[in-house]
Symmetry: C2
Subunit: 418 residues, 2 copies
């Protein structure tokens, strides 16, 4: 697909077109293989391909809805695990294309056998579904002979001040991130992978996200988190090759060669005490964030995508961006230049036993190395950022995201075959 072709494709699309254009532009990343838009269908009919240099669902323009799940392997058989990954890969390719999880689909095949698809996505379009697979540190124990393949980057995250992590919402041998514009499509995908994995894996935990909080494109409006503020203004963009190479993709010099072209996913379930936040003045909310609530502009002035001027002082010589403002503590300038590619989602999981909404941000960030790109930033946030008064980390997962899949291969094949 050449430059001309892509230009035509981008211009020819309506609605979903902007997003598709960026997806198409992703062709060209990496070493000749790349995640590509599979078809030029627009809107809900748009579909991404599973195959490419990198897995889909990372630089892919962020879809509206999320279903994220982790699984623990329940067998000691390496062969069974590999067979399942092969079956997951086949099913993922089908479902991303808008087809059933198996070759016969939900309503045909052997009438006296269970259908190879569960059926709730019949007649639903692909909805830009992406499926992204990862491996947790626990997979690299001695059950499957993988202990020598464990990347150093999977070292456990440290305890951060204020962490209140619940084991039943943390970690897992495997993870699957399903993103789609229709939540029923995302749920259907996770459910069918769980069905295929029956006897090999059991679901450890899962999280639905109803609203995206980041974009990876330049032409979309920045969405809002449950603090009511725009989130992810300074996110890594999917067409920024240099930033992706520096901050997201694992290089050829990786300690574990099977991870070249992959990434690391940090998932954090961040509960927001929204009732407390809602009782703060607009002034205090903006001070804590360091941006205006309406436009998302830095309090130092300008418009949303202008860089904050952390030195600029206002009345009484005080900096306009507070010393403890989130935007200051998190900014790359104060974190050795590191950036993360964020794909988080808003969540609400009912309410707590004291009558508060169990709500927040399910943070998903892809980084080249969590030791350099997440841990120091999160340690600064946990100790210096005034926003931490309104959040609590209640779940955590760290996963190695292997590179993309070639046709005929299965996801993570490099881990098992080398």
């Amino acid at each position: 697909m050449g430059e001309e072709r892509r230009g035509i494709s981008r211009r020819g699309l309506i609605g979903g077109g902007a997003a598709l254009g960026v997806g198409a532009a992703a062709v060209g990343f990496g070493a000749g293989r790349a995640t590509a838009v599979e078809t030029e269908r627009a809107g809900a009919a748009a579909a991404y391909s599973l195959y490419g240099a990198h897995q889909p669902g990372i630089v892919t323009p962020v879809q509206d809805r999320l279903h994220f799940a982790t699984f623990d392997v329940t067998t000691d058989s390496r062969a069974a695990l590999v067979d399942m990954l092969r079956a997951w890969t086949d099913a993922a390719a089908r479902m991303m294309h808008g087809d059933g999880a198996g070759p016969s689909g939900p309503t045909s095949g052997d009438y006296d056998a269970p259908p190879d698809d569960t059926g709730e996505a019949i007649d639903l379009p692909p909805s830009r579904l992406t499926l992204t697979f990862g491996f947790g540190a626990s997979l690299f124990d001695d059950r499957f002979g993988l202990s020598g393949k464990r990347p150093a980057a999977l070292d456990p995250l440290p305890h951060f001040p204020g962490d209140n992590l619940r084991p039943e919402r943390s970690e897992g041998d495997l993870c699957v991130q399903a993103c789609a514009d229709d939540p029923q499509v995302a749920v259907h995908a996770i459910r069918n992978l769980a069905r295929i994995g029956f006897g090999t894996v059991g679901m450890r935990w899962s999280q639905l996200g109803f609203g995206k909080t980041s974009t990876t494109t330049r032409d979309e409006a920045t969405p809002r988190n449950l603090f009511g503020f725009k989130d992810g203004t300074m996110n890594v963009k999917s067409d920024d090759r240099d930033a992706l190479a520096d901050h997201v993709w694992v290089g050829e010099d990786a300690d574990q060669p099977w991870m070249a072209g992959g990434s690391y996913l940090v998932a954090r379930r961040i509960t927001m005490t929204i009732e407390t936040w809602d009782r703060q003045s607009l002034r205090e909310q903006e001070r804590v964030v360091g941006r205006t609530k309406s436009e998302g502009a830095p309090l130092s002035g300008g418009v949303e995508r202008d860089q904050p001027d952390f030195e600029r002082a206002g009345r009484e010589g005080k900096p306009l961006v507070d010393p403890a403002a989130h935007v200051r503590i998190a900014h790359p300038d104060h974190n050795g230049g590191v950036q993360m590619l964020r794909r988080g989602y808003n969540f609400v999981d009912g309410s707590s036993d004291i009558g508060r909404m169990d709500a927040g941000l399910f943070f998903l960030a892809y980084v080249v190395d969590p030791a350099t790109h997440f841990v120091p930033v999160q340690m600064r946030l946990a100790t210096l950022d005034d926003m931490q008064e309104y959040v609590q980390h209640t779940g955590s997962g760290l996963f190695a995201i292997p590179p993309g899949v070639r046709r005929g291969e299965y996801v993570g094949q490099g881990l098992f075959s080398a």
Copy 2:
């Protein structure tokens, strides 16, 4: 708005047009006041009015997403409760129109006061939001002087065989059903009502639904539940005046006059053991439902919306629709002709501690009287329907839904003013 005008409106709309048309057709129900489409904006920009003979969110064409919440009153002050209902009514009218919950909105007003809207719906269109309010039996104890106003229809539901109801997912003094095509809009509405109610009510439980499982219109495709089957094929339609009068709306002869024009909402959280279901053959799944999985046609033949022929026998003289099939047990012909207006949603709330998805159907049905229109049907289902092997009721709520609101009034005013 006359017949002609409505016809024009229906034809003039694209996309959301079909749904809007039916909404508009609802003008004319009831006693001259009715829930009307507020504007003729199409698609996501479409908005319904809070005001009318009946509350919105009942006959309204079913939106894609749900956030349902119940609240317990935390004060003994009747005046405080009434003040909150007044504030809720004002906020509901604003939010359904696409505005903020309060007059100044999320980013203006007194800079040193909390904003009167939380902000996460800034720039989001109305998304056909409806808010529907109800009163549970517990509100009619002696705290607020309402014990003499309690409708007989709020008598507690009996225990049904197989019920496994959890108190923390059941009942409540008040309920609010928020439906919208954008989940962030529905969540925003519930969150802002909770914010406004702070000090007067606390949230008891809430439930998100990601995919509708019923329609109330004739021209929409029937959606699918997590068994993968079409659901709600025989649902009451919003243009069927006779069915609504017989089965949904409380008449002028109600035991409690303040309920005339209202309805009763039965909410049941129905957990599906989808992993077990998924291991059944297609033949068994269709036998249990009594319909084909592909088209949703009765197993006695014909197409989806044909009536099942319960007498028709196949090989060996066995009825084509099994004696224990769901469609047979639930059919109005076997339930004294009663019908319910259903507006249920698919849900997934993570996974259980044995690695299964916590998933199912959040059943919402509006009926004229649960004693005649829900209890006998559910008792038949709980004892005779083979589908019960795959479901468990894990939450329950019964609420009196007062009639619609006139401009200048507040929701439920008849209960407090008479």
